[in-house]
Amino acid sequence: MKSAVIVFPGSNCDRDLADAIAKVTGHAPAMIWHRETMLPANLDFIGVPGGFSYGDYLRSGAMAARSPVMQAVIKAAGEGRAVLGICNGFQVLTEAGLLPGALMRNAGLNFVCRQVRLDVANSQSVFTSLYAMGETITIPVAHHDGNYTADAATLDRLEGEGRVAFRYAEPVNGSARDIAGILSEDGNVLGMMPHPERLIEAEQGGTDGRRLFEAAMLALA
């Protein structure tokens, strides 16, 4: 699986994500700085990492979504390449228009940093095929702006089309319909607030994140 991880000023989960990809697939991703206008040829998988890109100026993900490299990511997504946005990466993907809706300040106003239980709501995507439908997994979250918001018609469409990938199985941030992660219409773009890259090996306290990368490798290798 040929992969890349995008790095913005203020990204801070880029190395964790690169590590997870390298450990699971055996191949280290290319690290792509935000000023690049082109991505390596024939990429299978693009990771948009967590962090506080551009210091969360204006809105979380707003500046990063308009950075030069994102035009290349949008093009790659349009070509059907797999794009995974985690946490700030999810915010960037919504701001870039690759995923619908927006991520607002957590309803409780607190930064939430803990393990949360998630229900798998789609087990057929490139990213989720190794999870069972309805399975409950545990993945950490660490965010201030994870409160997913969209109009009712968009939420109905996401649910009707099976595009909700993960739901919170416990109260976390006030997200509409407990949405923790969503897929694009074609299913090749996943945005999620929880951090699967942080639970790859037993030493990290669990391995529930690992299957997401294994599924991508199976589908894309």
């Binding site: 204006l58 809105r59 707003a62 308009r66 919504t94 701001e95 619908p100 809706g101 927006a102 607002m104 300040r105 957590n106 309803a107 409780g108 106003l109 409160n147 918001t149 969209a150 109009d151 006030g174």
Partner: protein, 80 residues
């Protein structure tokens, strides 16, 4: 230097979009004894220094492209 003008773009959350920050501010004001406060909404004021003669359409385009996320926010433009 060519003539400049100042344009104010006010970005606010759409009605119906929960504003937890605003709610906390309203609660704090009530805590200070301002009983008449029913609600507060938090927005942003973006002050643009642009070339004189920049059209309203251009400013609107800026607002839609970047300054506001129209999924959750409205914007209002004040020009000289």
């Amino acid at each position: 230097m060519a003539a400049r003008m100042i344009v104010n773009v006010t970005v606010t959350l759409k009605n119906g979009v929960l504003d937890p920050q605003g709610r906390a501010i309203a609660a704090a004001l009530k805590g200070l004894g301002f009983d008449g406060v029913a609600d507060a909404r938090v927005g942003k004021l973006i002050v643009l220094d642009v070339a004189e003669g920049t059209s309203r359409e251009t400013i609107e385009y800026m607002a839609k492209q970047l300054l506001a996320n129209t999924v959750i926010e409205n914007f209002r433009i004040e020009m000289p």
